[in-house]
């Protein structure tokens, strides 16, 4: 049972345009959500997170939106840059657990063309 799903395996965007990466979850107990960026042969890098008490969190070019009723979150990158080309993972957790287990989606490969 995949509790976090990224249904788009890949996304291609022109430089300067907006990139929108989507993520759906099924576990209503999830209350903290994160996005990670990963280059090949490297560990994931934390990008941005959002708590379930919010519906939007912004950090520079990155904005995460959370729609709890739809169990959906998205990552917006504006403007997109070629250096943003990477695999993006969304992850979710139940903060109340003692060890902070993260459940990851399968990832979306973002390619930003110059």
């Amino acid at each position: 049972d995949q509790q976090v799903k990224q249904n788009s395996p890949s996304l291609s965007v022109q430089e300067g345009r907006i990139s929108i990466l989507n993520c759906d979850y099924t576990n209503s107990m999830f209350d903290y959500f994160l996005w990670y960026k990963k280059y090949p042969a490297e560990g994931p890098t934390f990008l941005i997170s959002i708590s379930s008490i919010k519906d939007k969190n912004e950090d520079g070019r990155f904005t995460v939106f959370l729609n709890k009723s739809a169990k959906h979150l998205s990552l917006h990158i504006v403007p997109s840059q070629p250096g943003d080309s990477a695999v993006y993972f969304c992850a979710a957790s139940e903060v109340r657990t003692s060890y902070g287990k993260l459940t990851f989606g399968q990832g979306t490969i973002l390619t930003v063309h110059p």
């Binding site: 994160l34 560990g43 890098t45 060890y99």
Partner: protein, 114 residues
């Protein structure tokens, strides 16, 4: 600041050989520690987590084991490797006293079992 190290960076091992991957964290105390595996073309799968020295929990049954001999050291082992153990192994840490579950990843180890 906190840093996380993993070694070796790459490893090629024959089927049936033993395995030992090491992860250390600097700049923090009593972290939660995690081992993940990313198989080719797939997302991140949590293998083990640890909330303290000698405390290991397994998420999936397998021929791998983990140990935490020191506060900031986490070791992934196997007595006999299988072909299916090939993948990219990632260690991560998070703060135990944090209100969020943000995990920070190491650079990873690429394991190829032949």
């Amino acid at each position: 600041s906190q840093t996380i190290h993993q070694w070796p960076a790459t490893l090629v091992q024959p089927v049936g050989s033993p395995l030992s991957l090491e992860c250390t964290v600097e700049g923090t105390s009593n972290p939660n520690l995690y081992w993940y595996r990313q198989a080719a073309g797939r997302g991140l799968q949590l293998l083990f987590y640890s909330v303290g020295i000698g405390q290991i929990s397994s998420e999936v049954p397998q021929n791998l084991s983990a140990s935490r001999p020191q506060d900031r050291q986490f070791i992934l082992s196997s007595k006999k490797l299988l072909l299916s153990d090939s993948g990219f192994y990632l260690c991560a840490w998070s703060q135990t006293d944090s209100s969020t579950d943000t995990q920070y990843f190491g650079p990873g180890t690429r394991l190829t079992v032949l």
